[in-house]
């Protein structure tokens, strides 16, 4: 008997441990446990910790991840109010709100995903059908209803999800927008045409502006020159007018004035060492006649 005592103690310990495991369970942080007695759900435990239970087959414990899960719908075509096809992908964050109901109606997160998917698709189509394309994308921010559409979808999905599946939809959003492939080709065509037009516009604007600047410069230049020419003419005229005053001095004896002028010209012309062959008739060389060239006395 004594030989078996240590073995017995170990055996008893192991058995006790095993028994303990059958009547205890833990709920982890971020988990929810639903306790069913003979298949019927009796309570849900969200608080983490150690709890007591009846072993199977009396009670069975179901553990669910109680954290927020993300679900995303397919990138599908939806019709807007103004008859435009737009591709929308909606995602949502959900968590278990009513654990017991969740167990009964849904049973697993995978099922929850597919259930919610259907719900979201239904309300996505319904909501987007009430809004025009321009409320999703628009360069005028006041025309946008992006947030409103999301909120409306969430508000529509939430009560249904809660009632039917015991799920709380915590957030919902549009992940991406797109256009059907047939339309994208047209869009590219339009984009190309738009860009070409813009490029043309830039070029012609540049040309026009350049021409304008050059024309302005030419006209300015002409103005400046015209004014300067006018001013110069005036100065010359002033000079001539002033000079003319002095001419009156020659009125005293015009012939004398002429004579003096001839002398001047003669001297200037024959300054250089040159050969001169002239008739004595040529003025002022008529002076070379001598006596007869003298001015007549008045």
């Amino acid at each position: 008997m004594k030989r078996n005592a240590p073995l017995l103690i170990v055996g008893l310990l192991v058995a006790a441990l095993f028994l303990l495991l059958q009547v205890l369970f833990t709920v982890r942080e971020g988990e929810v446990a639903v306790v069913t007695t003979f298949g019927k759900p009796v309570r849900a435990i969200q608080e983490a910790g150690l709890y007591a239970r009846w072993p199977w087959p009396v009670q069975r414990i179901y553990h669910f991840d109680n954290r927020t899960h993300v679900v995303e719908g397919a990138f599908e075509e939806t019709l807007t109010q103004d008859g435009k096809n737009i591709l929308v992908a909606v995602y949502a964050g959900w968590r278990i709100a009513e654990p017991i109901q969740f167990l009964e109606r849904v049973g697993s997160p995978e099922k929850a995903r597919s259930n919610l998917d259907g719900l979201i698709r239904h309300y996505k189509n319904a909501t987007l059908g009430q809004y025009a394309f321009a409320s999703l994308v628009n360069v005028r921010p006041e025309a946008l209803r992006f947030e409103q559409i999301e909120q409306q979808m969430q508000a529509a999905v939430q009560p249904d999800a809660r009632e039917r599946y015991g799920i709380a939809v915590e957030f919902l959003g549009i992940r991406k927008l797109g256009l059907p492939e047939s339309i994208t080709q047209k869009v590219f065509g339009r984009m190309r045409a738009e860009r070409t037009e813009i490029a043309e516009r830039y070029r012609s604007e540049g040309e026009a502006e350049a021409i304008k600047i050059r024309a302005q410069a030419d006209s300015q230049r002409d103005q400046i020159l015209a004014k300067a020419e006018g001013d110069a003419k005036r100065l010359k005229a002033n000079g001539d007018a002033e000079a003319a005053k002095f001419y009156s001095a020659f009125d005293k004896d015009p012939e004398l004035a002429m004579f003096l002028r001839k002398l001047e010209v003669l001297e200037e012309t024959l300054k250089l060492k040159s050969t001169v062959v002239l008739s004595a008739d040529t003025q002022p060389f008529d002076l070379l006649r001598g006596e007869t060239a003298l001015p007549k006395k008045k």
Partner: protein, 327 residues
């Protein structure tokens, strides 16, 4: 019998000690940890989060340790709106290539990186199942929403920073509201591009804009040169005019002065004065001329030839009977 019992007791004590020691755990510098005792977070308040260092708790299955990298700046990349780099002929198709819609219903590609840090480890671990999946979708959501407000020119070229800023603001706000326990450090826009099928057209716009500013700048250059030249020319004309004016006046006034002087004397004795002037001039003038041939035309028909030879002239000249000069 007693021996085996003692051995057994020894082994059991050893096992117990080993078991207890296995409850020691180390939290590294860049980590934080939680101890879940029977699933529940152990400790109260600040005690709940275990910082770097050596700690002890009850070993499994009593306690479990959960760690999280709290110091590292982590990144979530979004290629949702990007095109695959492989096939250049591939046009945008849903599923194959991603894009976003712009405010003017055009398509645009972009690639983003969201950088974040875990600010609240407990919230990060126990509130959301897949934080990175949520972050990615929130990032994409922000891009979709912001993209739909910007015209493609602005998002692509002129207001890229405003676009990136709008996305950053939106995603930061949303993540705050969701209580993910993360701090958004930054949002990067790595690539933004028009669809490849129209990239050429977009480049053409940039080139045309360049051309426009070059043309205008060339025209301005011409304009300033032309006007400057004109000013220069104008100044020259004016200077010429002034010079003419001065010269004319001074010349004529000088002439008038001279005349007046001569006249004063001339009046006293006209004959003498005139003759003197004439002779002085003749002398001065003809001294400078090398060869002089003056052929007089006398009314009597006689040819009178007067020759004044230069002083330096050596060889004599033969006189020929000249013909009547033409009138």
């Amino acid at each position: 019998m007693t021996v085996s019992f003692r051995v057994l007791r020894f082994v059991m004590v050893l096992l117990l000690v080993a078991y207890v020691v296995s409850g020691v755990f180390i939290v590294r510098q860049d980590e934080k940890a939680f101890v879940l005792m029977f699933g529940k977070v152990a400790g109260l308040g600040a005690e709940r989060v275990k910082g770097p260092g050596i700690h002890w708790t009850f070993p499994r299955p009593i306690s479990d340790i959960v760690r999280v990298k709290s110091e590292q700046v982590q990144a979530v990349e979004s290629a949702t709106f990007a095109f695959a780099a492989t096939d250049p002929m591939q046009l945008a198709a849903p599923g194959k290539e991603g894009y976003s819609l712009t405010g003017d219903a055009n398509l645009m590609h972009s690639r983003w990186v969201l950088r974040y840090q875990i600010a609240d480890p407990e919230a990060y671990l126990f509130r959301v199942r897949d934080n990175r999946a949520v972050l990615l979708r929130e990032l994409d959501h922000a891009v979709t929403k912001s993209s739909g407000r910007f015209a493609i020119d602005r998002a692509l070229r002129t207001d890229i920073e405003a676009f990136r800023g709008a996305v950053a603001e939106e995603v930061t706000q949303r993540c705050q509201a969701l209580g993910l326990g993360v701090q958004i450090v930054g949002v990067e826009l790595q690539v933004v591009a028009p669809p490849r099928a129209v990239a050429d057209a977009f480049n053409e716009v940039v080139a045309a804009e360049q051309e426009r500013s070059e043309k205008i700048s060339a025209a301005r250059g011409y304009a300033s040169r032309a006007v400057n030249e004109a000013h220069g020319q104008a100044a020259k004309l004016l200077a010429e005019g002034e010079a003419y004016q001065r010269r004319t006046v001074s010349e004529v006034s000088a002439d008038a002065d001279y005349f007046n002087k001569v006249y004063t004397e001339y009046v006293k004795n006209p004959d003498v004065i005139a003759r003197t002037l004439l002779q002085d001039t003749l002398r001065r003038t003809l001294a400078g001329v090398e060869n002089k041939f003056i052929l007089p035309d006398d009314a009597t028909g006689k040819q009178e030839l007067r020759l004044l030879l230069n002083r330096e002239q050596q060889s004599p000249w033969t006189v020929k009977k000249p013909e009547a000069p033409p009138n």
